[in-house]
Symmetry: C2
Subunit: 161 residues, 2 copies
């Protein structure tokens, strides 16, 4: 199949590995989940069955099952079932990507709940709270900024269509 052949001077299989490695480092995703995601981003046709994924990525059925569920849970791929005993097919939800990643970014700012809690814990302790107040101010600001991001993305992407 053309998915693993050379295209445009670069091996898709290498690209898939890089993509998987990045998502392992950044999101703590298992390598196979990243491979599935990468493969579904560039494969033709768009939809693939679990068996096809396993064959293309040399992974066991159990692994595919587990990692496909992980990606479904995160909302990055969709599952389409078909009548009869035909296999279900999976594909990336490129439209949902922004949502998922923005939500992930926003979770970073949840540290502000901890810092504000710590600030309250040290209330009345004078300048012992100085350090944590400084950090808290950053996270509070970040929290606001990141929630604005979502609105700005919607404005930006709607302007494009």
């Amino acid at each position: 199949m053309s998915d693993t052949s050379r295209v445009g001077g670069r091996q898709p299989s290498d690209w898939i590995e890089s993509f998987a490695a990045r998502f392992e480092a950044q999101e703590g995703m298992p390598l196979i989940a990243g491979r599935i995601l990468a493969f579904l981003l560039i494969c033709d046709p768009v939809e693939r069955t679990a068996a096809e994924l396993g064959a293309a990525l040399s992974a066991s059925s159990g692994s595919i099952s587990t990692n496909v569920r992980l990606l479904l849970a995160r909302g990055l791929i969709s599952k389409t079932t078909r009548r009869g005993r035909e296999a279900a097919v999976y594909q990336v939800r490129e439209d949902a990507w922004a949502n998922v990643m923005l939500r992930r970014l926003e979770s970073v700012a949840e540290v502000s709940e901890l810092t504000t809690g710590g600030l309250r814990m040290l209330s009345g302790q004078g300048d012992r709270a100085d350090r944590i107040r400084e950090v808290d101010q950053f996270y509070s600001w970040l929290s606001g900024e990141l929630s604005q991001l979502r609105g700005r993305w919607e404005a930006h992407s709607s302007r494009r269509r």
Copy 2:
């Protein structure tokens, strides 16, 4: 010492554990690194030796050594050496926090390098590149937004002093 006693109706030791758990989940930091960070945020006095950290957090000297190096490498704490055979002391760099976290956020947008590479790989393949193009547009936009964040934080924080 007052660091582990009740303050303001909440146990600092519980707060430290929550903080460490959060940083383990979010940044993939070892628990002990998170504990050191949390402890250094609220302890009095501000500076602590490796031995004091070990005693306060019930961790071995080796663990403290390793994790203190990790935090130093990330730029979240500083090490102050003293003349003679006195022990070095560590403290949080609350001023560097914003920088470190902003850099971390910016790294998320580095996925755009992968998506742009994938786009190039599929050039001339018609609408097979549609999915990855969509994702690439998001990351490219995000990349720009996140690099603006740094400037906005500097403006915000300088306005405050």
